[in-house]
C-alpha cells in the first residue's frame, strides 16, 4: 500500500515546517532565526560601532537624532530534518498499512523540508543500529528517488531506539528537526533517544503510529499471541492469555498509559508528540495533528 503519489505531494506544497527560531542551521534556506543576517527584511536598529559597514547607516535617523544607527535585518537558515524511522517488525510485518503509513509520514515530513530548501536524511533504525542508506538530500529529484526506495524498506527484527539514535553518526547540533517515527512498543529506552537529541539541541518530534488492531484488539478468548518480532514459538515475547472483557479494558488502559507516558515525557522535555492511527487519512494527520502541535504552518 502506498500513500506516496503526485497528488499527495502536491497538496503538501502549501505547507511548511515551523521550526524553532533558536536553531542555528546552515546558511541559505528559508527559516527565520533569531540571529540577524543579510536578508531584505528589516528587523531592528542598532547604534553604529566601529567595524560596521557605513553603507548600512540610516541617514534619516541621523538627521533626526544626530547619532549613527544602522539597520539590522533578519537571518534565514537552512535546516536539516532527520527522520528516524523504526524499521522493526512491529511497524509493518503484520500490518503493512501501518508500515506504509509510517513511511508516508516520513516522506511527507521530508518533502516539506525539501520543499523549503532544507536538507533531509532518513535514518532507518534496525536493531541497535541506525542506517543512513540515502544520505542527505537537497533537491526534489533526489528526494523522490529516495522515497521510491524508501517504500521498499523491510520491517523486520526488533529495534533499540535509544541505542540506535545515540549510536547514529550524523546527529548534528542545533541544526534542525529530528523526527522519530515508531509505535514505541518497545522495552528499549526510547527516552534516552529523546534526551540525546535534545542534548544535541535538535527540535524533536515523536510520531507514534498505531494500527486499528492495536488500539481496539478484536480477538477474545484463549489466544496465543505471536509477537511479530519474535524469533520462534518459544520466544518470551509470545504469550498465551485468555482475553476477557476485563483484559480488554486493561489493554485499553495500558495503551492509554503508554501514549500518555510518551506524551507527558515529551511535554516535560520540550519535545513534540503526536499519536496517530494508521487508518486516519494522512492529510488529516498532517493538517490537524501537526498543525495542532505547531510543527507545521
Amino acid at each position: 500500500m502506498s500513500y506516496l503519489n503526485d497528488e499527495f505531494f502536491s497538496r503538501l506544497e502549501t505547507l511548511a515546517l515551523n521550526l524553532r527560531a533558536d536553531l542555528a542551521g546552515f546558511f541559505g534556506g528559508k527559516h527565520l532565526v533569531k540571529t540577524y543576517g543579510q536578508t531584505v527584511e528589516f528587523a531592528d536598529y542598532r547604534e553604529y560601532m566601529l567595524g560596521d559597514d557605513i553603507r548600512r547607516i540610516d541617514w534619516n535617523l541621523y538627521s533626526r537624532f544626530e547619532r549613527f544607527y544602522i539597520k539590522l535585518f533578519t537571518d534565514e537558515r537552512q535546516m536539516h530534518v532527520r527522520v528516524f524511522l523504526d524499521c522493526s517488525a512491529s511497524m509493518g510485518k503484520e500490518s503493512p498499512k501501518k508500515g506504509a503509513y509510517a513511511v508516508a509520514t516520513a516522506a511527507a515530513l521530508g518533502f516539506l523540508a525539501i520543499h523549503n530548501t532544507d536538507k533531509v536524511s532518513f535514518k532507518l533504525m534496525k536493531g541497535e543500529r541506525c542506517e543512513d542508506p540515502f544520505g542527505i538530500m537537497f533537491g526534489k529529484r533526489t528526494f523522490f528517488d529516495v522515497v521510491r526506495r524508501l517504500e521498499g524498506v523491510p520491517f523486520e527484527g526488533d529495534t533499540d531506539l535509544g541505542a540506535a539514535v545515540t549510536g547514529c553518526a550524523d546527529i548534528g547540533s542545533s541544526d534542525g528537526l529530528a523526527v522519530i517515527i515508531s509505535d514505541f512498543f518497545t522495552d528499549s529506552d526510547w527516552k534516552k533517544a529523546v534526551d540525546y537529541l535534545l542534548y544535541k539541541k535538535q527540535q524533536v518530534l515523536l510520531v507514534q503510529v498505531l494500527s486499528p488492531e492495536e488500539i481496539d484488539p478484536l480477538y477474545v478468548g484463549r489466544v496465543h499471541l505471536m509477537d511479530a518480532e519474535s524469533e520462534d514459538l518459544a520466544d518470551p515475547r509470545n504469550m498465551r492469555l485468555r482475553i476477557t472483557r476485563g483484559m480488554q479494558q486493561a489493554y485499553e488502559d495500558a495503551l492509554k498509559y503508554l501514549i500518555g507516558e510518551v506524551g507527558s515525557y515529551c511535554r516535560m522535555r520540550g519535545a513534540d508528540f503526536i499519536s496517530v492511527r494508521c487508518d486516519t487519512p494522512i492529510e488529516k494527520m498532517l493538517f490537524e495533528e501537526l498543525l495542532k502541535v505547531g510543527i507545521m504552518e
Binding site: M91, T186, E214, D227, R240, A250
Partner: protein, 630 residues
Amino acid sequence: MNWLVPLGFLGLLGLLALLLIYLIKPNFQKKSVSSTYVWKLSFRFQKKRNPITRVQDILLLICQILAIVALAFIMAQPVLEAFRPAAVTQKVCVLDGSVSMLAQTDGETRFERAAGQIRTLARQVTQEGGEISVILAGEDAEYVSVRTTADTLDELSAALEELCASPAASCTYGSADIDGAMELAEQVLAQTPLADVMFYTSKEYIDDGGVEVVNVSDPSEYNVAILNAEPLLVENYYTFSVDVASYGRDADLTVYCQVYGLNGVENAEELYSVRVWLDGDTPQNVLFNAETTGGTAIFAYESAYIYVRAEDSLGYDNQFYLYGGTKETVRIQYASSVPNIFFRAGIMSLRESLRSRWNIEYVEVNTQYREAATSGFDFYIFESVSLPTLPTDGVVMLVNPLSVPDSSGIRLENYVRSGNMYLSRGEDHPITEGVDASKIFVSEYAGMTLSDDFTTLLTAVRGEPVLGVRNDEDTKLVVMAFEVQNSDITLLLEFPRIFFQTFEYFFPSTITQYNFEVGESVSLNARAPELKVSGQGTQLTLTQFPATIRLSAYGTYTLTQTLFTGRDVVENFYVKIPNSESDFATPVEALTAPYVEPVPENEDYDLLIWLAGALVLLLFAEWAFNRHSI
C-alpha cells in the same frame, strides 16, 4: 416421578457431543500481532479477578451439562405421579348390630350369618394381601378390628367368634348406631380412601349412598310384631288398642290380652283374644273393649299382657305390657273456718286436669262446725284455723294460720299489717315459676317469721314473708300469711298457678307415660328421696331429680319409692323394640354413607414447565458466564 417418553434420555448423548466439542476445540487460538508489549503492560492494569471468574470455566461447563440434562429430561417428559393408594384390596365392613339382626332361621341369627360372611371375606382379602376393617354398629359403634392383615387375621376371627358367642349380648335391642359406625369408617377411609365400605344388614336401602349393602336376611324369614299398644280411656272405661303386623308372610293370628288386677280386684285376671288376618305387611289395629271382652268393661287394671303366639323369626316383639291402669289415690282435705269457692274450685280443677294420673279424693271441712282431721290425707289445706299439731302424713298448706305449733318453724307475730301493698318475689322456686308477684295486691297480712328451713317465695313491702315453703324429709309445709279475701290473687292467674304448682311440686308424677322404645331416654321424678329402678339387668338408685336414664333393653322396668309416710309406691313401664326393627319389609330411605375425601384422578403433575424454566435459566447462566469470560 415417571417418564412418559424414556427414549428422550437419548438426549443425554448431547453430553458426548459436548465432550467432543471440548476435546476438539483448540485451547488457544494463534494470533499474530505486531507486538505483545501492550498486552504485557496491561497486566499491570488488570483488576483483581472476581473469585467466581476462577471457577467460571467449571461453572460454564456445569451449566452446559445441566442444560443438556434438562433438555433430555424435557424430551423424556417427566411427570410426578399423583398419590394413589396401594392397589391392594381394602375393605371396611360395618356389621349391623340392631335387634332385627337377631332374627333367626334354623337356629342361626342374621348377625351370625353376617359375621360368617365377614370372616370368609376377611380370609379372601388378607390372602390377596389386602386389609379389612370391621366395625360393629351396636348401641354404640366400635371397632372390632382395624386394617386387619393376614398376620392379624386370627385376632379378627377370634373377635367375630366372641361376638357370635352371644349375639343378643353383641347387638342392641334397639336400632344400631349406624351413623356412628359410618363415622368410624370415615376414619379408616381417611387412611385408605379407596377401600370399599360394606354394610352387613338385614335392611334394604333405597339410597345406599355408595355403600355396598350386603343383605343377610333369609327369604324365609318373617316377623309377627306387636308394634304398639295403648290404653284409651273412653267414658271412664279402658279400651286397649293394639297395632299388630306380620312382615314377610301373611298370617291368620290370634292376639291375646291377659289383664291383671281387673277393675281393682286384686289378683283378678282375665284373658281375652281377638283373631286377625294380617297381610300385605300392613299393620292392623286390634281393640280390646267391651265388644271383644264379652261385655266386660275395664275401668281399672294393674297391668295388661298382650301377646301373640307365632313361630316367627324375631320373638322380641311378640308381647307387650300395658301399665298405668290403676291410678294412685290422693286425698285432699280443705279445712276452713270460712270455706271459699276459690280453694274449692282450685281442687276441682286439679282433680279434672290430673285425672289421668291421679285419683283425687276431696273432703271439705268447715271448722266452725266440726274439727278438721290431722291424719289420713295426703294434702291438707287449713285456712284461718288454729292448729295445735301439724299432720305428719301429708303435705300441709296453711292459709292465714291463727296459731301454729312451734315445731312447724313458723312464728306468728302479734301484728297485722294493712294497707295497699303489692308483693315482691322471693327466692326462685318451682312453686312460683311464672308467677308475677308484683301483680298480686294484698290489703292485709299477718306478720310471721319463718325458720331457716323455709324458702321464702313471696314477700311484702318490708321484706316480710307472706308465702313460704318447707320441704324436709318429714315436713312438707306451705304457709300463706294472708286471707284470699284480703287480696286480688284469686282474680289473677297467679292463684291457680301457685296452687297447681304446689301440688306438682309435692306430688310429681314419676313418669309421664308407660311405654317407651329401646334407645329412648326417660325422665324420672320422685316424691321420695330415693327412687329405685330395676328390670332388664338394670339396678339403679336415683337421688337427684329429675333424673334421666337411657333405655337399652326391652321389657318391663319397675320404679320403687318409699314416701315419707312410709308407704311404698311401685310403678312399672314397658320398653319395646323400635317398630323400624320389627318391620322386615319396608326399605329404609337412605343410608348415611361415610364421607371420603375424593381421590384426585389424573392429576399427575407435569414437570415440563419447571424443567423448561430450569433450561431457560441454565441457558441464561451459560450465556452470562460466557459473556463474562469474554
